[in-house]
């Protein structure tokens, strides 16, 4: 077996850790300043980033490592339903699955959260009461974000009032792409304030930002504004989560913590459907930012179908034979 030469290499970080936000206190003082800052971040070479993600995607995760990875991945799932057809019944059914993903195997961990629209957050909260599983609610005119700030803040307030522990907001991609970075920043700050105690996940919708340079800039903007998590996508736009995008976001949270001392979580969402995809993400974390992010506190998968594939693979590892779709519950 091969071993990592220096297991603490990633967690040690390169620099001393100053007070939160301290080095960057003045970078949002004006549009010009925030623009200069974001455009002064090192560029991302797309081909190089993709090549790195590809190599990490070839890691061979077997036996005990795979079992650990599957359980870890299950515990990181934000089990999600974000459809116009969602009902209280469907949310309750999802909550039941969240608590006990595999009813035949009590050793299977629960997921991290259930993610719903804000109006159903109360239903989810009630259904998950006493489980330790969080309720996440999308807000801010999800998924497009095209509404006035007042409406967005009201949306957040409503979700929080319904008991959401976590708010998944979308950034104003129009503002970002037209260079109005300060508008984006201020909106995130306002939403964070409206969240109160709730954790804020900031959805960048990287499929609309297109370039990895934009992903890095948007990640920094969200972190500077106080986001607790940065999240790739709404799941409504393709491409959603990809490994290179997640790599760049992990590099951003790594560098942000090194500079400010504040750790920010990462949530790829949309498009992660298989155990293999999930394991690749865990490898990406492991070799980019290290073990500090290998927990649901700092990493989530926004997904619906992923959980069933994780369960099937888990059954295969446990029983030694392949399982089938009727051996896990339909959502």
């Amino acid at each position: 077996m091969t071993h990592v030469l220096d297991p603490d290499a990633l967690s040690r970080g390169g620099r001393p850790l100053p007070a939160p936000l301290d080095p960057f206190a003045d970078v949002t003082r004006s549009d010009a300043a925030v623009r200069a800052f974001l455009h002064g971040l090192p560029g991302v070479d797309q081909v190089g980033a993709e090549a790195r993600a590809t190599v990490l995607g070839t890691r061979s995760i077997k036996t005990t490592a795979k079992a650990w990875a599957i359980d870890t991945a299950i515990s990181m799932v934000d089990l999600t339903t974000l459809e116009g057809s969602d009902t209280p019944g469907r949310v309750r059914s999802l909550a039941a699955k969240a608590r006990r993903p595999d009813p035949d195997d009590l050793t299977c961990p629960p997921v991290a959260a259930v993610c719903v629209y804000g109006d159903l957050a109360g239903i989810a909260k009630e259904a998950l009461s006493g489980t330790g599983i969080n309720v996440a609610a999308v807000a801010t005119a999800f998924p497009s974000g095209r509404a006035s700030r007042a409406v967005k803040l009201a949306d957040v307030g409503d979700a929080v009032a319904n008991g959401a522990d976590e708010i998944d907001m979308v950034i104003d991609r129009g503002a970002f792409l037209s260079g109005r970075y300060l508008d984006v920043f201020e909106e995130i700050v306002a939403v964070k304030e409206a969240c109160g105690e709730a954790h804020l996940k900031v959805i960048l919708e990287t499929g609309e930002l297109v370039t990895l340079d934009n992903v890095r800039r948007a990640s920094w903007l969200a972190m500077l504004a106080g986001g607790d998590f940065i999240k790739t996508s709404t799941g409504k736009v393709a491409p959603a989560a990809t490994l290179p995008v997640c790599l760049v976001m992990l590099e951003a949270v790594r560098d942000f913590r090194a500079a400010t001392g504040r750790q920010v979580g990462v949530k790829p969402a949309g498009g992660i459907r298989t155990t293999k995809d999930a394991v690749k993400h865990l490898v990406l974390i492991n070799e980019t930012v290290g073990a500090d992010w290998l927990s649901p506190r700092w990493f989530r998968f926004g997904a619906s179908g992923l959980l069933n594939d994780l369960l099937l693979q888990r059954q295969k590892l446990r029983t030694g034979h392949y399982s089938g779709p009727d051996h896990v519950s339909v959502d």
Binding site: D45, Q46, V47, G48, E50, V210, T211, L212, D213
Partner: protein, 288 residues
């Protein structure tokens, strides 16, 4: 015939754009094909060769850094000036090679045409020898010919002008600078060519012409660590082998000499240019 007493020319080296005597103070007698005295040529020493390499190295950046179009125009200018001095050069060729006036003039004409031929190559080599490389990945790849650097040229011993031009032209067209050891016994057209070069916009140091003995100077050039390539055209069998062995110590590009001096009127193709051209392959990713 006028009874005016001719003003004779002193034949010197052409080195770094100037016309010095050999630092050694040595000269040797140059005779015509029948053994009559023609001139005393400077007999270049190893130190002259050393100085020539310094001059040639110093000219590399300017010459290789010029645009191909510019190099082509400068070389073409050389042909223009040669044409104007064709009669004088033909006399020197006739005397040295023992040719009739007509055949000497034909050799000069061929030399001028050869020079023009190479002048036209400067801005085509990249298209003919370069490539776009369709690599199996998201990269743009291309390859370009670049000059080797400083090339030592042992000029042919018999063909004092056409032979010389046929070995010097390709070295220069590719963007190299040259240290030339001329034909030992027939050096005079080379010195006059130096005068042509000096008045033709060719930067000093690009061409350095040493009259003298390839067997004496050649080994110093073949071993010289700051010489990148060597054309052995003017070296005889055993000397050529010795020089090639010497050149191996610094991995020089070596253009071997054929057993017999070739017919220089033949179409040269690219065969004398490619040995002193390097191929550089460049990769760059293509991403957003």
């Amino acid at each position: 015939m006028s009874d005016r007493l001719a003003v004779r020319k002193t034949y010197k080296l052409y080195l770094g754009g100037a016309f010095p005597r050999s630092e050694s103070g040595r000269t040797y007698e140059v005779t015509d094909a029948k053994g009559h005295f023609l001139a005393n040529a400077a007999r270049a020493s190893r130190k002259d060769a050393r100085d020539a390499v310094v001059a040639a190295r110093g000219a590399v950046a300017t010459w290789s850094g010029a645009t191909a179009y510019n190099r082509g125009q400068v070389l073409y200018r050389v042909a223009e000036v040669m044409e104007g001095r064709a009669a004088q050069i033909a006399e020197e060729v006739a005397a040295g090679e023992g040719l009739s006036a007509t055949r000497a003039r034909a050799a000069v004409d061929a030399a001028i045409d050869r020079w023009v031929w190479y002048a036209g190559w400067t801005d085509k080599l990249a298209a003919v020898l370069g490539s776009s490389n369709p690599v199996a990945g998201p990269y743009f790849g291309f390859s370009l010919p670049e000059p080797t650097g400083v090339v030592a040229v042992l000029a042919p011993q018999r063909s004092s002008l056409l032979g010389l031009v046929s070995v010097l032209g390709p070295v220069l067209a590719g963007g190299n600078t040259a240290v030339v050891v001329t034909s030992k016994e027939r050096p005079l057209p080379a010195v006059t060519l130096g005068e042509v070069l000096a008045t033709s916009d060719v930067p000093g140091g690009v061409v350095n012409l040493l009259t003298g003995d390839a067997a004496e100077i050649g080994p110093w050039l073949a071993e010289h660590a700051d010489v990148d390539g060597i054309d052995l055209a003017g070296a005889s069998g055993p000397l050529a082998m010795e020089l090639e062995r010497s050149a191996a110590g610094t991995v020089k590009r070596v253009l071997r000499a054929p057993a017999e001096e070739p017919d220089w009127t033949a179409d040269p193709g690219l065969a004398r240019m490619t040995p002193f051209l390097e191929t550089k392959s460049v990769w760059h990713p293509m991403g957003w």
